[in-house]
C-alpha cells in the first residue's frame, strides 16, 4: 500500500500521479476515489493530466477515454484497458493498493 495524500489535498475533479511501478493516477470524482494505471495504453501520456468528466478521463494527448470504474476504453484510439486499483481512506489519508482489485469492481 502507498499513502497518497490527505483527502483535503485532492479536491473533487482533481487527479494525482503516484510514482508506483508502473505509475498510478488517483482521481477524486465528487468525493469518490478511483485509481487506474497512469499511462495511456495507446501512447505514452499521463492520464492524471487528462480531463475528468464524470467517471471518465480523457487522455491529454489523443482524447482516448477510460472508465475509471472498469479501466475500459470508451473512446478510441486506445483499444486496451488500463488496470484499476483499490483505493481506501484511513485517518483522512488516501491510500492506494496497487495491483488490488477495487471494492465492488466487476
Amino acid at each position: 500500500m502507498i499513502p497518497v495524500c490527505r483527502v483535503g489535498d485532492l479536491p473533487p475533479g482533481e487527479a494525482v500521479r503516484v510514482d508506483a511501478d508502473p505509475p498510478v493516477a488517483v482521481f477524486n470524482v465528487d468525493g469518490e476515489f478511483y485509481a487506474i494505471d497512469d499511462t495511456c495504453t495507446h501512447q505514452d501520456a499521463s492520464l492524471a493530466d487528462g480531463w475528468l468528466d464524470g467517471c471518465s478521463v480523457e487522455c491529454p494527448l489523443h482524447a482516448s477515454c477510460f472508465d475509471l470504474r472498469t479501466g475500459k476504453p470508451s473512446a478510441p484510439p486506445a483499444k486496451k484497458p488500463v488496470r484499476t486499483h483499490r483505493v481506501s481512506v484511513a485517518d483522512g489519508v488516501i491510500v492506494l493498493w496497487p495491483g488490488e482489485t477495487p471494492d465492488g469492481a466487476a
Partner: protein, 393 residues
C-alpha cells in the same frame, strides 16, 4: 435490397468512417478499400517509437477486438483509380467495378518528394527516404545505424521527429530548412525559434534559410548539395517536405480538387452520395471563409462522424472545429490547438521558455485563439478544452 457504402482509404479516417456508419445505424455492406496491404495502423509512432524500435508492429494496429463484430468487407492492396461522375461506382486498378449507394473518400495524403527526383522506383538512389507509410518506416529504420551521417531535408514536424529519433540512435544529424525559421507557419516565428532550438540542445545541426540543389552519389546517396554552394556528406537522407492529398485519381469525377476534395462543413462533396474526410478533404470553414484542408491526426479521427451523418441524411452538426496537433521531439512534448493568425499576440502564461516547459497563448483582440504547450500536458488540456467550448471566431 442491401445497400452498400464503399469507403476508399483504410487508414484512420477510413476506419473511423466505417465505425461511424455502424454507430449511426447503417446495417448494409461496408467495403473498406485500401491501397496498402496492411490493416489500418497508427502513423504517428512511425517517426518516433516505431522508428527507434521501442514499439512493435502490433502496437500500431488501429483495429480493436470489437471491430470484428462490425462486419466490414476489406479490400486491401487495392487502389481505386476512378470515381464515376454520378458517384455510383468506383473502378479499381485491377479493372474491377464496385457499385455503391454511398461513397466515403478517405484516401489521405502522401509524402511530397523533392522536385526533380521523380517518383520512387528502381532507379532511385538508395539511402534516400520519405516517411509516411509503414513500409517507409521499415526501410528508414534499417538505414539508421549508429555513426552514420543523416541529412534531414525539411525541419517540419516529421523532419524534427526523425532527427530526434536518429540522434537517440547515435547518428550524426544535420537538418536543412529552406525557411529562415522552421515551423514559423503553424507556430509563428517566435515559437518556431523556440522549437528549433531543441535541435541544438541535443547536438543536431540546423541549417535554416537555405534550399537543396540536389543529391550526390551513384546508386547510393553520398551527399546533399545546398543552394548556397555548400555540400553536406550523407549516408542517409530523409526528405520531409510535407504531404499532398491523394486526389489525382478523382480527376474525371467532376469534383473540385484544387486544394483537396472540396466539401461542405460536414464533409459532403458536390456529388450527391459522396463525402470526404481526413487529409484528402478540404471542408468549408465558416470562420476562414474558404475550404481548408488540415493534415491532422485528430481530424482523421473526428471528421468521419459528421461526414457519415451527412451521407446517411442525418441532421447532425459539423465536427468540432479546433485543429489540434502534437509532436514529440528530444523528450519534449509539443502540443498546439487552434488557428494562429499573423497578427496574433503571443503571451507566455505559465512556465519558462528557457526550461522548455511552458504554455503560450495566441490572442486576437484579447481573445485566445490558439495555445501552444511544451511539456505542459495538464495545463494544455484545460486550455484546449476552453478553446473547444468558446464561441467560434
Amino acid at each position: 435490397m442491401t445497400r452498400t457504402v464503399a469507403v476508399v482509404g483504410a487508414s484512420l479516417a477510413g476506419l473511423s468512417a466505417g465505425r461511424a456508419l455502424r454507430e449511426q445505424g447503417f446495417d448494409g455492406r461496408v467495403l473498406l478499400i485500401g491501397d496498402e496491404v496492411h490493416a489500418p495502423y497508427d502513423r504517428p509512432p512511425l517517426s518516433k517509437g516505431f522508428l527507434d524500435g521501442g514499439s512493435a508492429r502490433d502496437d500500431l494496429d488501429l483495429a480493436r477486438e470489437d471491430d470484428a463484430a462490425l462486419g466490414f468487407e476489406w479490400l486491401l492492396g487495392q487502389r481505386a483509380v476512378a470515381l464515376d461522375p454520378r458517384g455510383q461506382s468506383l473502378r479499381l486498378a485491377d479493372g474491377r467495378e464496385i457499385r455503391a449507394d454511398g461513397i466515403v473518400l478517405a484516401t489521405g495524403a502522401r509524402a511530397r518528394r523533392l522536385p526533380g527526383l521523380g517518383p520512387p522506383g528502381p532507379g532511385d538512389r538508395s539511402g534516400v527516404h520519405v516517411l509516411r507509410t509503414l513500409d517507409d518506416a521499415v526501410a528508414l529504420r534499417s538505414d539508421l545505424r549508429p555513426g552514420r551521417r543523416l541529412v534531414v531535408i525539411g525541419a517540419g514536424f516529421i523532419g524534427a521527429e526523425v532527427a530526434s529519433t536518429a540522434r537517440g540512435l547515435g547518428l550524426d544529424v544535420t537538418v536543412v530548412e529552406a525557411l529562415p525559421v522552421p515551423l514559423a507557419g503553424p507556430l509563428g516565428p517566435e515559437m518556431g525559434r523556440v522549437c528549433a532550438a531543441l535541435h541544438a540542445d541535443h547536438g543536431t545541426r540546423l541549417l535554416a534559410g537555405t534550399g537543396v540543389a540536389g543529391l550526390d552519389g551513384d546508386g547510393h546517396v553520398t551527399g546533399v548539395r545546398l543552394l548556397d554552394g555548400r555540400s553536406l556528406p550523407a549516408d542517409v537522407v530523409l526528405v520531409g517536405i510535407g504531404a499532398q492529398p491523394n486526389v489525382e485519381w478523382l480527376a474525371g469525377s467532376g469534383l473540385d480538387l484544387s486544394g483537396g476534395i472540396a466539401t461542405d462543413a460536414r464533409g459532403a462533396a458536390s456529388i450527391p452520395g459522396v463525402v470526404a474526410a481526413g487529409d484528402c478533404a478540404a471542408p468549408w470553414s465558416e470562420t476562414a471563409g474558404r475550404h481548408v484542408r488540415f493534415e491532422h491526426w485528430t481530424g482523421a479521427l473526428e471528421q468521419p462522424s459528421a461526414a457519415v451523418a451527412a451521407l446517411l441524411g442525418a441532421d447532425a452538426a459539423a465536427a468540432p472545429g479546433v485543429p489540434y496537433f502534437w509532436s514529440d521531439q528530444y523528450g519534449v512534448r509539443i502540443q498546439f490547438a487552434g488557428t494562429r493568425g499573423p497578427d496574433d499576440k503571443l503571451r507566455v502564461v505559465d512556465g519558462d521558455v528557457a526550461a522548455r516547459s511552458f504554455l503560450a497563448v495566441y490572442e486576437r483582440e484579447d481573445v485566445p485563439v490558439a495555445v501552444l504547450g511544451m511539456n505542459q500536458s495538464r495545463l494544455f488540456a484545460r486550455w484546449r478544452r476552453q478553446l473547444r467550448t468558446a464561441p467560434a471566431r
